[in-house]
């Protein structure tokens, strides 16, 4: 592509030939309104608000063109703010105003172009007929679900939707310059703190911020390209050319010597506990949502805000939501007391809110924890010994205003209390991942009644599992805080290293062996071994056990009808002797 020289408002500039004028002008920092322009669609002037005055060559007559779709040619002279250009834009704007209802976009432009008392042509229809929605649906998405329709008094939308064709991608609403098109909420609960997923809810996103490798991935089931075949905007914008749609999913098989299970936990979903109104009242949020709000890179930029954007005047922190609760999890989640205190500290630091802690027992068990608790007491946090019983709006009539009341029994003063607050934080339980049992089965380790993985021994082998070479680290083994998880992780790593360094495995002395002189080759044992340790030697007409594969379960020993298989350390003689010994 060759460069061409043009002149904009008297300034010479070099641009690539074929560039649209609007881009060239904007490159120069001149702002021209162009609401019907979307960079990933072919320009199609409909609003004409981007009009500029041009003249080609020294002698030619100047004319008004729409800059969005006018390709530059050498020697072009452009005037963006000439009398003629402004007048053309004002005329275009007046034309739009004469067809639509007031909108911020056009209102602001009217003010910019000094149109006093704009004569709005319609009461309701905010569509400026730019066709962006239809074009994006047709050209980019490929669903072809939208078309113009006649506006009536009853139905003030100007766009007709074919629900059969619509894939609910939301591209039309995204490109609409006046917000005429709105996506309706699919769920009852408006998305308040939408950062719960730790990333935009787009079809292409980072799984979570600390993900390794930290690269976004495309969720094909939501991606327009994978649904309809169009779009590909992401690959267009990617400066590194890193997006390939034809990259197939790959299953990698990695040979390993040891495995450390660190599958973590999932957050307890408090929605079923209706009494706390999670999902019903927007200012009742879970601990992780509050944590996200405090993240400087989060949805509120680290500010503690209510749904309406105001700062809360009072916050209640409810402990033990889903834990220490016979109906949900009996165990203590261990981390909540301390993070709840941290929350109180953050709230005190960032806001002037009154903070209430509603706890069953304050479990400040770790190093420095009790001291932190006392510091919080000194900071003026209200601690109430009593589990929050219910969260209700201040008044059902005025529930829209957002005020909440937390009901509880203060067991230290023996009184029922109602505390008015703006925000309620639920300290939800840590629970085992819903797929923990299925994953565990793959590794031949089991889960306990509470769903956590079972360690080989609660005291003597808290990191190992019943399967040799598989170790546990972190919360997947049971609720624990960061220092404990780090300690266990280090221990697991050390255990794994110990095996890897040695490069050889110490075999258990217990294994089964076939006494060849008694084996008749009936092959009953052949199908019994889950580890395929038993093979049949056709030549000798005997079966053979590979002791390296044998895990000493003894199933073949019991199954051997001639007693030719001997289970070392669990021989028939030993077991019979035990049975007879303890019974007589």
């Amino acid at each position: 592509m060759s460069k061409v020289s043009i002149e904009i408002d008297g300034k010479p500039i070099e641009v690539e030939s074929g560039t649209y004028l609007l881009e060239a002008v904007r490159d120069l920092g001149v702002d021209i309104p162009a609401p019907c322009r979307y960079p990933y669609l072919k320009p199609k002037p409909s609003c004409r608000l981007c009009s500029v005055e041009i003249s080609e060559g020294a002698d030619s007559v100047s004319k008004i063109v729409t800059s969005c779709n006018y390709p530059v040619t050498a020697g072009l002279k452009v005037l963006t703010n000439s009398e003629k250009a402004i007048e053309a834009r004002r005329a275009a704007l007046n034309n739009l105003i004469g067809r639509t209802a007031p909108t911020t976009l056009l209102g602001d432009l009217a003010a910019q172009f000094k149109i006093d008392n704009p004569k709005w042509g319609h009461k309701y229809v905010t569509c400026i007929f730019c066709k962006l929605c239809i074009r994006v649906c047709d050209e980019l998405v490929g669903a072809k679900a939208l078309s113009f329709k006649k506006v009536t008094d009853q139905d003030t939308t100007s766009i007709k939707l074919d629900p059969e064709k619509c894939i609910l991608c939301g591209a039309c609403a995204f490109v609409c310059p006046t917000n005429h098109i709105k996506l309706e909420e699919a769920q009852d609960r408006p998305v308040v703190h939408s950062e719960m997923s730790l990333g935009p809810n787009a079809a292409i996103s980072l799984t979570f911020r600390q993900a390794v490798p930290n690269v976004p991935r495309i969720h094909t089931e939501q991606c327009i390209h994978f649904t309809m075949g169009g779009c590909q905007v992401c690959s267009e914008v990617c400066p590194k050319d890193a997006i390939h749609y034809d990259q197939p999913d790959q299953i990698e098989e990695i040979e390993v010597g040891t495995v450390i299970m660190a599958t973590g936990f999932q957050d307890f979903d408090p929605t079923p506990m209706k009494q706390f109104g999670y999902g019903k009242y927007p200012n009742v949020i879970s601990a992780i949502e509050f944590e996200q709000m405090n993240n400087a890179a989060g949805s509120t930029g680290g500010k503690i805000l209510l749904e309406n954007g105001a700062e809360p005047r009072s916050i209640a922190i409810l402990h033990c939501i889903g834990s220490r609760d016979d109906n949900y999890h009996k165990y203590c989640s261990r981390v909540c007391c301390m993070y709840a205190l941290k929350f109180a500290h953050l709230a005190k630091e960032k806001t002037d809110a009154e903070v209430y802690q509603l706890y069953i027992d304050m479990r400040a068990f770790g190093k420095g924890y009790e001291e932190f608790y006392h510091r919080l007491l000194d900071e003026g946090v209200n601690v109430i010994r009593g589990k929050g019983a219910e969260v209700v709006p201040v008044s059902y009539k005025r529930s829209a205003e957002g005020g909440l009341i937390v009901r509880c029994e203060d067991t230290l003063i023996g009184k029922f209390r109602e505390i008015p607050v703006d925000m309620v934080i639920l300290c939800t339980a840590l629970e085992a991942r819903s797929d923990a049992a299925a994953v565990g089965r793959k590794f031949n380790i089991s889960t306990g009644a509470d769903g956590w993985y079972i360690e080989a021994h609660p005291k003597l082998a808290p990191v190992s599992t019943t399967t040799e070479g598989i170790f546990l680290a972190g919360v997947c083994q049971g609720a624990k805080d960061i220092p404990d998880a780090v300690a266990q992780g280090s221990a697991a790593a050390a255990q794994a290293m110990r095996l890897l360094n040695k490069g050889e495995v110490l075999m258990d002395a217990a294994y089964a062996e076939i006494q060849e002189q008694f084996c008749s080759g009936c092959r009953i044992c052949n199908g019994l071994c889950p580890y395929n340790a038993i093979s049949y030697e056709e030549a000798k007409k005997v079966s053979y056990i590979n002791s390296a594969l044998c895990k000493a379960c003894g199933t073949c020993v019991a199954g051997c009808p001639t007693g030719a298989i001997k289970a070392r350390h669990f021989t028939d003689e030993q077991i019979y002797a035990q049975i007879e010994g303890i019974l007589t």
């Binding site: 089965r441 031949n444 089991s446 889960t447 306990g448 009644a449 509470d450 079972i454 609660p458 019943t466 399967t467 217990a510 019994l528 889950p530 895990k551 000493a552 379960c553 003894g554 199933t555 020993v557 019991a558 199954g559 289970a567 669990f570 028939d572 077991i575 019979y576 035990q578 049975i579 007879e580 303890i582 019974l583 007589t584």
Partner: protein, 156 residues
């Protein structure tokens, strides 16, 4: 004195023995009638062990393994599951109430369940009464003092 049954428990190493251990560490009490033998897997249980236990004076035999699908050795417990019904058929043939033998699944986390199973089974065996074996206890020297089984009085 009330009848205190002798019950042999054959427990698998990974689930049930650990479950029994848990019952212990949790200070759950279960009848002392159960005497346990540890095997690596319920698949190791040979019906001969069961017959031998009855021969040696057990009034009941309880076999515990991992829940189906949770076997440490993938499917050893299924082998046990297949052997026990046939063993019960043979027990019936030997004139021993098959209810004196029970197979239960107890996982490593089910200390409470272990307690309940043992308590319940002990009560069941208690209600079945002592198992008195006829042939055992005979020695040929008794023949000097007369045969142990005189001809039963048969009607004419």
């Amino acid at each position: 004195m009330s009848f205190e049954p002798k019950i042999l428990g054959i427990l698998c190493n990974w689930c049930s023995y650990t479950g029994a251990d848990l019952a212990g560490t949790a200070r759950l009490k279960y009848p002392a009638n159960l005497m346990s033998v540890r095997v690596m897997c319920s698949g190791r249980v040979d019906p001969g062990f069961i017959f031998d236990a009855f021969k040696a004076g057990a009034d009941g035999v309880l076999i515990c393994g991992c829940h189906p699908g949770d076997c440490h050795y993938v499917e050893g417990n299924y082998k046990c599951l297949r052997r026990i019904p046939m063993t019960k058929t043979l027990l019936q043939g030997f004139g021993i109430d098959p209810n004196r033998l029970r197979l239960e699944w107890v996982s490593a986390s089910e200390g409470l369940r272990f307690q309940q199973v043992v308590t319940e089974f002990t009560e069941q065996i208690r209600s079945l009464g002592p198992l008195q074996l006829k042939e055992w206890g005979y020695t040929p020297h008794q023949s000097e003092a007369g045969h142990p089984e005189p001809q039963p009085a048969l009607n004419q």
